[in-house]
Amino acid sequence: MKPLLVVKDLTFAYPGKPPIFSGLNFEIYAKEKVCIIGKNGAGKTTFFYAIMGLLGQLKGEIIFEGKSILTKEDLRYLRQKVGFLFQDPEDQLFCPTLLDDVLFGPLNMGLSRKEATDRAWSVLKELKIEDLAHNPPYTLSGGQKRLGALAAILAMDPQLLLLDEPSSGLDEEAANNLSGILTHLDKTIIMASHDTDFAEEVASSWYELSSGILRPLHGKTRVGI
Amino acid sequence: MKPLLVVKDLTFAYPGKPPIFSGLNFEIYAKEKVCIIGKNGAGKTTFFYAIMGLLGQLKGEIIFEGKSILTKEDLRYLRQKVGFLFQDPEDQLFCPTLLDDVLFGPLNMGLSRKEATDRAWSVLKELKIEDLAHNPPYTLSGGQKRLGALAAILAMDPQLLLLDEPSSGLDEEAANNLSGILTHLDKTIIMASHDTDFAEEVASSWYELSSGILRPLHGKTRVGI
């Protein structure tokens, strides 16, 4: 079986700053759930940006479903198939109501209003937030916002989810609820988290991002990092 | 000995919403360090606003150092003696440089430039961020911003600290550094946190905020909430 996503020899630096990645390699197979840990500023968020093609020019190769991402068309396909949950869900909810937000992606993909609406409701129900559909997103609580942003992404039916600190700011109940949802979700997941308890629930393997490369962590060695 | 702060029969609702507090009572003695937990939207941040007099009209009584806060004069005194660390430090650093930010409070309290500057530097040194003094706040990292905001508050030499999710978004090293500082700080502390590992380091007793009242948690019962 081929890996779902391969990142090869990734090298990148923000202008005028020391390099964040220097020849980073990574691969993930379908249905795997991995967690990336690393210090503040290690580059976890930047790594996700790189995969999503948000950094502009970078050295290295991103291979999705065995195909190297080269053209704009490839990138559009990748962005449809990979859902990215931001560190701050606030940035991901920009429509007047949550339902509008969940509809935004499917409509852009060219679905009809009817299909898009059906899909939106089924996702909202899956995450048990259908009651909130008509609320303006900024009146939602932290946990509700996170679930709302997740719904907006799942509505595009991605195969791979990139989750940037999905549990930050959530209370224990919301965090448990979310980890339950993620564990049972039939998707491939890469997440970045400082919250080891949460990540342990969801992830089966671990990587550490430091000094520009991703290193797999085995067994218990990750404790204390 | 009298408690340092007493909150009596606090009742409050945001306009057009169900009440957040309904007859809440709370007291804390000098040098105590307590942690408040509660779900997203339970009202932890609002509780801090209430103590600091930022909510406008509310029912109930705030008693600081045995004196009920009634006049504007009382409120000014309380605001000098109680330091409030916001959930988002970005909102708390609004001056051209970090040093200006740390000076802002002391100068407003009427200290001379010389005294204020001495105090600012000693706080910056205590938190080990004196190298950053001349940096504009927006160039700081998340953890540095948090420490910077803390410095700005400590420079006013408050007796009581209200900390709203002080560890959120920090990596383990930064969080450990902060919890070390807070543990050794000779102040009274009330903090709200979802991060139980962090809070355990700092706090000695626990309260849960739910359905409008604060309930003390004893021993291990808090686990699992």
Binding site: P96, P136, Y138 | F94
Partner: protein, 200 residues
Amino acid sequence: MHISEGVLSLYPLTIGAVGAVAGIAAGLKKMEIDEVPRVGIVSAALFVSSLIHINVGPASVHLLLNGIGGLLLGIKLFPAYLVALFLQVLLFQFGGLAVLGVNICTMAIPGLVGGYLGRCVIISGKPPSLGGAVAGGIGVVLAALFTALALAFSGDVFLITAKLVLLAHIPVVILESLIGAFIASFIYKMMPSLLGVDEK
């Protein structure tokens, strides 16, 4: 929209400076000291939004948003533009110091008028999106007109340039009214108090 340093003649420069000083003085008088963070942050938001480039066919247009600014800030739009345009000189060397007055007037007066009319529309009970469209559209129309006038007053050589300025802004007017409509209805839904009208 801004005119570079060294283009205009003494006459428009003087009128612009006098108008700007008067507007700024009025705005500062109206602005309480505790409103400063709010006006500053809204002005930053307008500054940032006007850096967003929107692709219209082959061309890339950037919004002025002076009408929406007028809707939100009223007369305080003058100090807000002083600051925003001064920052443009500092950061990008766009515009200049001697023409600052003209540039402030060409943005703030139209914004003020557009915002005022837009608010009238909303208060009279018509849909807020119509108010936003009025504010956005009139803001741009007048701003283009003022810029063209300032150029025309600086000498006959600038007549063609002035006409070009007017022509170039026709698509911007349409774009800005459309986006203004969406902005206003968005804000009206979420926080009507920002538009100076109460809920219901």
